[in-house]
């Protein structure tokens, strides 16, 4: 069981630094944002599983060679109040449980707080906006600052909001592109992905890769919305809309350049996409496989 623990630990380290760094630097992700987002999720899940598994197996290794035996022996020791249980394994198990609880609680808390914030904001939008005459479903806020955004959520909570300033600034096809982009975020429920990575980066603040992955996933989500918007918008209108909405803030402008450049660029070939999906499955099967070896 110790070898499995070591393997999981090593894999966790790989998934914590070099693998995500390589993925963040890769260019192909822009040509297949959906597949890339899947890969990111696989890395996050497998990484978490490996970390927790490594600690848990390290702890349980003192109680037996096979996982089922070790768990039985451990439970018996706890039930009998056995004081001869060595400290180190207990620490390992405790760390595993704490880490799992920490990750799950953070996810729960982030999700609940975000949902409440959105509902509150959404109620304000209802109170302060008027419907847009030719754009059913879009809400118009009477403010000169040119702004477009969406409020994600289930059912009535979700909304697309544009300001009067934006409607004044954009031509009709550009406005249509912006609305289609925001609607794509809602239809494809991107907030589930961004909230999860937000929670993950909050849980592991000492991992620089956590915030890097959050930014990467945020960009991929924008690219996904662009791709979806292109189903109902001319590429030229979307390009202009992105350029105008990006503004002059440097980070936004850099993202805008990436988004504009890739519109019309050839997508990733099928075999490459298949390879990425296979890699995702592979990454997830490593901790699963290592854990399975402890059963025999």
């Amino acid at each position: 069981m110790l070898t499995a623990a070591a393997g999981l630990g090593l894999f966790a380290v790989l998934l914590a630094v070099p693998v995500p760094l390589a993925l963040a630097r890769a260019d192909w992700t822009q040509r297949a944002p959906g597949t890339a987002a899947l890969l990111w999720q696989g890395i996050a899940l497998a990484g978490g599983l490996s970390m927790i598994g490594a600690l848990a197996l390290l702890g349980l290794a003192a109680f037996g060679d096979r996982l089922p035996d070790a768990v039985t022996a451990f439970s018996r020791a706890v039930a009998e109040g056995d004081a001869t249980v060595p400290v180190l394994p207990l620490l390992g198990l405790g760390a595993a449980v704490l880490l799992l609880a920490h990750l799950l609680l953070n996810l729960l808390l982030t999700t609940v707080v975000a949902a409440r914030e959105r509902a509150r904001h959404r109620a304000l939008v209802s109170l302060l906006s008027s419907p847009l005459p030719d754009r059913p479903g879009a809400h118009l806020i009477d403010d000169p600052a040119p702004v477009a955004y969406c409020v994600p959520g289930d059912g009535e909570v979700s909304a697309t909001v544009v300001s009067a300033g934006l409607v004044d600034l954009l031509q009709p096809d550009e406005l249509g592109a912006v609305i289609a982009h925001e609607r794509a975020h809602l239809t494809q429920r991107h907030h589930l992905l961004t909230t999860a990575f937000q929670a993950w980066s909050l849980s592991l603040p000492w991992f620089p890769i956590a915030s890097a992955s959050r930014r990467e996933v945020a960009l991929l989500v924008e690219l996904l919305a662009d791709d979806r918007a292109l189903r109902s918008t001319a590429p030229d209108a979307l390009r202009r809309a992105i350029a105008l909405v990006a503004g002059t803030a440097s980070e936004q402008a850099a993202t805008a350049r990436v988004r504009i450049a890739r519109i019309g660029a050839p997508p990733l070939p099928g075999w490459a996409r298949g390879l990425a999906i296979a890699a995702t499955i592979g990454i997830l099967s490593v901790p699963a496989g290592l854990l399975l070896t402890t059963l025999a």
Binding site: L124, L127, S163, Q198, A246, G247
Partner: protein, 121 residues
């Protein structure tokens, strides 16, 4: 307008558009009729109470019946909403937001022209 949210909206619109304080009965009188049903005074009072809790409405208890005013004009609330969207740290943003820099209209035209040239090239 049958939903509670719709009623809140209707009441706020009336309060924002009126010059002075209004009582629940004044509001009832001025409510746009949707023809189908009569609004009960208690419903209006419930809506006013909710709006008071949300910080939109102030109640004058000195007069009988109580009269109500909007605490701040509509623009102030809209500005607060915009601040929430524009100033929230990306970590805290509850919404997926796109912002615009303050691009003057002629600069927008320059950008458009440049992009058309690129697209045509």
């Amino acid at each position: 307008m049958a939903t509670l949210g719709g009623l809140e909206r209707a009441v706020m619109d009336l309060l924002w558009d009126s010059d002075g304080a209004l009582s629940a009965y004044d509001l009832l009188e001025r409510m746009p009729s949707d023809g189908s049903r009569q609004l009960a005074p208690t419903t209006v009072l419930t809506v006013l109470s909710r709006l008071e809790k949300k910080g939109f409405v102030a109640r004058e208890r000195a007069s009988r019946p109580h009269r109500y005013t909007a605490i701040a004009p509509r623009e102030a609330h809209v500005a607060d909403l915009m601040h929430e969207v524009l100033d929230a740290a990306p970590d805290r943003a509850a919404v997926l937001a796109r912002f615009l820099g303050q691009i003057p209209a002629d600069e927008a035209e320059v950008i458009r022209r440049a992009l058309r040239l690129d697209a045509g090239a």
